[in-house]
């Protein structure tokens, strides 16, 4: 008997993530590769997360985008990339902290609460799942 959960793979993936992002207050989800930080999947309004434009993004040389003329989707992509890089560095720093305390330990969950929102990050051996949701709601 074939396993229906696995055979319906992509559907289930979409459905699971869709349901997750439909939960009240959820603003964005992001799945990264743990080793390289490459973005595997995103959903939600990632550009809305970042209120402050970093000085780095005003420099012409960051990323391969032609900066000023970039359309909305490119902007979104870049926003996701920047957010991904920030989160990825955060997770790695947290990971190294734990490693230095106890080499056999590892990070299982990161919840970063701010005044406005919360980042819930699940690090795994190979992937990272990040969900950003409003805490005021």
């Amino acid at each position: 008997m074939s396993d229906p959960v696995l055979s319906a793979g992509p559907d289930m993936l979409e459905e699971t993530l869709g349901r997750l992002s439909k939960k009240p207050g959820v603003r964005a989800t992001l799945i990264l590769d743990r080793a390289s930080g490459a973005i595997l999947k995103t959903s939600g309004q990632i550009s809305s997360i970042r209120k402050t434009k970093a000085p780095a993004s005003s420099l012409p040389a960051v990323g391969s985008f032609s900066n000023e003329t970039s359309n909305n989707s490119a902007n979104q992509d870049q926003g996701a990339e920047e957010l991904a890089s920030m989160v990825w560095n955060f997770v790695n720093t947290a990971g190294s902290l734990v490693q230095e305390l106890d080499t056999e330990d590892e990070v299982k969950l990161l919840r970063l609460r701010t005044k406005k929102e919360e980042f819930v990050i699940v690090p795994d051996a190979k992937y990272l799942l990040i969900v950003i949701h409003d805490t005021s709601a």
């Binding site: 793979g9 289930m12 930080g37 595997l40 890089s85 560095n89 190979k126």
Partner: protein
């Protein structure tokens, strides 16, 4: 032997040779490093000397009118600052080498052209070997120039306009072609460019902190192509990760209490007015309140709930079994979902079967195992550590059940327990958990003689707490029969023909023994629910004494049968589908009916009316007709504060009861004696008087 020794010797020699070479290399490297580090300490003179040397060399080669001030540049403030910057940048590049290595791949195409120019020009220009500093420098250049190719171009044009004038005005060389000179110039420019670059990077480093520039430089290592993305997102690892991580996150999001709430700030009104809020029933300490509903869009849709059971080990987990979804023929017919109190929108686990699941239950002896009975007659075993398919199931052959299995149970002790299953044709089978290929024991229940037909179709089954060899079955015709698994004194295995519990006029859908755990033994009280719109309370005769009772009373001597009447009759306004004793309060039980009510009764308080009742809130997008009927109810066994119920609309509703109906605090011994007294009084006075009191 000798040969082998020779071989070893040869190898040793080789090893020594290798070691020597490595040492040699190491010493060379350290020498080089020490040179560069000495340069670091006193950079300007050595560097300037070096420069001058190179310039003179170039001049001797190029041969004429290059302005000395430009080439040496020792006096100009900008040039003067340059050696410092080079060295600091070099230092930096050593530290950051590994991090800069990654982007090198990305821009590799552009970068590769640069060192090539460098090496050729070096070889053609210098007769003597280049100085070690120069060598280190040119090496790091190949790696470092890779980032940010747009801005350097600007500085390149700038410097060109500045520096190119002398060569342009200069007359052509005799020995070197113009091209070579240009190349020379290019090298110079690129060096300067790079210096400027690194100077700026160093400044940024100082102002912005160490992490940021390096992070920006190496993130992401590279973007994945569409195929790679697809490969990753379809891998089993990935699915597994998504499954686990989303569960964690949903639990985190479903957590209602905000741990950061600051009660000193009275910003938001904390709505503690529970009385008006939400779906509640009953009053004060006998309140019942809806806590949560559990429904999964994918799996719960268009299915009915056929049974509910709480995990004996984890009080937040409970399972619900479901019948088939008639609109999804490709989905498995039967499923079992394990729900978590802290995860509302999706089940913790989903288990499948090829036929409708009619009943399912956690094994009390192994928290990972779940047993179920299917419409096809199969008994199934799932493991929460395994995938969705059952780890074991009985075959569809004549040796087991061939009719729907509406009741399964696990009886025995931790070390010796059996699965007992019962199908509607009256077949009762005993199985071991390890082997479901064949039943360990089989027995067919036959209705005792005065019945018109000998068929007996059990719909429910209950074992007393104390005795795994005796059980009651509730039959389709309305009679409850006591049964023995084995022959015993005065009775054969199968239905005990001497006693029957008659009272219901329609199929009995549930029987439940009192969970006796108190100062007074109430283990002989049985609650039965029937489609005749009633719940009845019975006092069951102990199996060992039935013969004595018959002998002493001689009541049914003519027919050879004792008919026992119910102690109490709770008549309702609709068909009753299930009734369950509270696991902690001796007089409390819950029932669910076809009108969608969950009712809570306390026989120590009131035997005519429920003390509290609640109807689960309908789902928003659910049907309006025929969606309210509740099919099953179950208590959380350890605390006895929560109840789960569900029915035709496929949603499981969790309710919490007030302190007088559940929970272990404030449990009084009098309650037990009150129940006992009530039972004794009814027995003495008779049913009709008791219900009229």
């Amino acid at each position: 032997m000798q040969q082998r020794r020779d071989e070893i010797l040869a190898k040793k020699a080789k090893l020594a040779e290798l070691k020597r070479q490595r040492e040699l290399r190491a010493s060379q490297a350290t020498a080089r490093q020490s040179i560069s580090s000495s340069e670091l300490i006193s950079p300007t003179p050595g560097r300037a000397d070096n420069r001058r040397e190179i310039e003179s060399l170039i001049n001797s080669l190029v041969g004429e009118s290059r302005p000395v001030s430009v080439s040496t540049g020792a006096n100009s403030p900008r040039r003067g600052s340059r050696p410092n910057s080079v060295l600091s940048a070099g230092e930096l590049s050593i530290g950051n080498n590994s991090e800069f290595a990654a982007p090198a791949n990305a821009n590799g195409q552009v970068a590769s052209s640069q060192p090539q120019v460098l090496s050729t020009s070096l070889r053609t220009v210098y007769e003597c070997p280049p100085s070690p500093v120069k060598e280190v420098f040119s090496y790091s250049k190949g790696v470092q120039t890779t980032e940010e190719w747009t801005s350097p171009r600007k500085s390149h044009t700038l410097s060109e306009s500045e520096d190119e004038e002398p060569p342009v005005t200069a007359s052509p060389s005799k020995r070197l072609s113009r091209r070579q000179r240009d190349r020379e110039q290019e090298l110079r420019d690129s060096i300067r460019k790079e210096i400027e670059e690194e100077l700026r990077a160093a400044k940024e480093l100082v102002t912005d902190g160490v992490l940021k520039p390096s992070a920006a430089a190496n993130f992401p290592a590279r973007a994945l192509t569409a195929e790679e993305l697809k490969a990753v997102t379809q891998s089993e690892d990935f699915m597994d990760f998504i499954d686990r991580s989303t569960k964690v996150i949903e639990k985190a999001l479903d957590q209602e209490y905000d741990i950061l709430t600051d009660y000193t700030l009275q910003v938001h009104d904390i709505d503690d007015d529970d009385e008006q809020h939400g779906n509640t029933g009953g009053k004060g300490r006998r309140k019942v309140k809806e806590v949560a509903q559990f429904y999964d869009e994918r799996w719960s849709k268009k299915r009915m709930i056929s049974s509910i059971d709480f995990s004996p080990k984890f009080s937040e987990l409970f399972l619900a079994s479901y019948t088939k979804n008639p609109t999804a023929p490709h989905d498995p017919d039967g499923i079992v979902q394990v729900w978590n109190l802290h995860l509302h929108d999706r089940p913790e686990f989903v288990f499948h079967a090829q036929s409708d699941i009619l009943t399912a239950k956690f094994s009390p002896f192994h928290p990972n195992l779940i047993i179920g009975g299917a419409y096809s007659g199969q008994v199934l075993l799932w493991d929460t550590r395994a995938r969705a398919a059952p780890v074991q199931k009985t075959p569809l052959t004549g040796s087991g059940h061939t009719h729907p299995v509406y009741c399964v149970d696990i009886v025995g002790t931790q070390n010796a327990n059996n699965i007992i299953s019962c199908s509607t044709d009256g077949a009762v089978c005993g199985w071991t958990v390890d082997m479901l290929a064949q039943p360990q024991e089989t027995m067919t229940l036959i209705a005792p003689l005065p019945a018109k037909v000998e068929d007996l179709s059990p719909l429910c089954m209950a074992f007393p707490q104390a005795d795994p060899t005796f059980f009651l079955v509730g039959s389709e015709e309305g009679t409850i029969y006591p049964c023995h698994r084995y022959d015993r004194a005065g009775a054969k295995a199968g239905v005990d023909a001497r006693v029957s519990y008659k009272g219901h006029a329609a199929p009995v859908v549930s029987v439940a023994f009192h969970p006796a755990r108190g100062p007074v033994d109430l283990g002989d009280l049985v609650l039965s629910a029937s489609l005749d719109w009633s719940v009845k309370l019975w006092k069951v005769r102990a199996p060992a004494t039935t013969s004595a009772v018959v002998a002493a009373g001689g009541l049914g001597a003519a027919s050879g049968e004792t008919q026992v009447s119910p102690l109490l009759d709770f008549v309702r306004e609709d068909v009753v589908y299930d009734a369950a004793w509270s696991p902690v309060k001796p007089g409390v039980f819950a029932l669910v009916d076809g009108a969608g009510w969950l009712e809570l009764w306390d026989i120590t308080v009131e035997t005519e009316e429920p003390v509290a009742r609640i109807s689960p809130s309908p789902r928003k997008d659910g049907r309006t007709m025929l969606s309210k009927s509740l099919n099953k109810v179950a208590w959380e066994p350890t605390e006895g504060k929560r109840l789960a119920t569900g029915g035709i609309d496929g949603a499981v509703t969790l309710c919490e009861v007030g302190p007088d109906l559940g929970g272990k605090e404030g449990l009084k011994n009098e309650e037990w004696t009150m129940v006992k007294k009530l039972v004794n009084k009814i027995e003495a006075v008779g049913v009709n008087n008791a219900t009229a009191m």
